[in-house]
């Protein structure tokens, strides 16, 4: 049963780590792009949110499943 907690921790931790790197790169590129071409900033922002939403999905799903494991399967 204790293994479930470790599994949940790995799930949340690695998922969050990967997504953080991804969103970091994404945000950096957004700033870079809008510094080069400020007139495109609003359109880039729309695409940025789309990308962030796609990346965001994975850790959030991981957190949801991890919470389910901790509180329902193990609890």
């Amino acid at each position: 049963m204790e293994m479930i907690y470790i599994a949940a921790a790995i799930m949340m931790g690695l998922g969050g780590m990967g997504a953080a790197i991804g969103v970091g790169i994404l945000g950096g590129k957004l700033i870079e792009g809008s510094a080069r071409q400020p007139e495109l900033a609003s359109r880039l922002q729309g695409t940025f949110f789309l990308g962030a939403g796609l990346v965001d999905a994975i850790p959030i799903i991981g957190v949801g499943i991890a919470m389910y494991l901790i509180f329902v399967v193990a609890g």
């Binding site: 962030a52 796609l54 965001d56 999905a57 799903i61 991981g62 949801g64 499943i65 329902v72």
Partner: protein, 294 residues
């Protein structure tokens, strides 16, 4: 939080909130929760608890998901009809203005992404966006309100966010998938078969390899589309329920739990809009790919 007269644990509470109101056919000879045995030929009834849902198997529908999603679809239709009837060249105000803004936003989005010629795409995108948004919006209603009211009225389970039910999200994704297949065949004709078999290696000996890769790629689209929405909303709902369970942990937890609930709800406003938007944009992109002839 807890029903009168019996002690409920946190995991009971969570499981109760994550169970759909299921109507289905119990198999013959199944012993029900009150000790009755199901008569010959099976019985169509509402399920009480997980074992009865498991016994129903395939012969079951989630009444709450269906009801809420169809109801929200009707809300969308009536709201937008109301606006369409009143639309004029004058300066609009209030709600009318808001609806015109949504329509214009979707229209621009479709014009940017979709380059084929098809009158169905813009209305389809509008429907998907507003419908999914409304279904996700049910997540912001405090998790206990509707289930407890329904319990009061004698209905045992009620899950009010249709997009936390994989049947609903996968159903929509499969609908999009059929549209993709339909337009691929309609626009490309035999070219669709060629696309499946002659890409990426343009040689007859590679046909099985190409076919395998392309079919996997094709099937992954509706799968990821449906699961992304489901996963996001399910995880969000799960966290709402967990924070709500904190209220039962003692007086000291009331304020932190309320703040957490508020914070997560505000963050969730972004998530629900973003997920509805992503579902719509991906639908447009997939259908746009179905219209591109190489």
């Amino acid at each position: 939080m807890a029903a009168a007269g019996e002690e409920k644990t946190v995991s009971d509470y969570i499981v109760h909130h994550l169970t759909n109101l299921t109507y289905g056919k119990l198999p013959e000879g199944f012993e029900r929760h009150d000790g009755d045995t199901v008569a010959a030929g099976g019985e169509w009834t509402f399920a009480h608890g997980a074992d009865e849902i498991a016994a129903m198997g395939f012969n079951a529908v989630h009444v709450d998901s269906l009801g809420w999603s169809i109801g929200l679809g009707l809300v969308f239709c009536m709201l937008f009809r109301w606006a369409a009837v009143r639309a004029s060249a004058d300066a609009p105000s209030g709600l009318l203005n808001f609806i015109e803004m949504i329509v214009e936003f979707i229209d621009n989005q479709v014009k940017d992404t979709f380059h084929g010629k098809n009158k169905l795409i813009a209305p389809l995108s509008l429907t998907i966006f507003v419908w999914v948004f409304l279904m996700n919006l049910m997540d912001l209603i405090p998790v206990d309100v509707v289930p407890e009211l329904m319990l009061f009225a004698g209905v045992e389970y009620q899950k009010i966010v249709p997009s936390t039910d994989p049947n609903i999200t996968m159903g929509m994704a499969i609908g999009v998938f059929f549209l993709m297949l339909f337009y691929s065949i309609k626009v490309k004709g035999f070219g669709f078969v060629r696309e499946l078999t002659m890409n990426p290696f343009n040689h007859w000996a590679f046909i099985p390899v190409n076919l395998f890769m392309e079919v996997v790629g094709l099937l992954a689209k509706p799968f990821s589309l449906g699961l992304r929405l489901f996963g996001n909303m399910y995880a969000g709902e799960m966290i709402f329920i967990l924070i709500a369970a904190l209220f039962g942990a003692g007086v000291f937890w009331l304020l932190p739990a309320a703040l957490l609930q508020l914070g997560w709800a505000i963050f969730h406003i972004l998530v629900i809009t973003l997920q509805a938007f992503i579902f719509m944009v991906l639908t447009i992109v997939y259908l746009s790919m179905a219209h591109e002839d190489h």
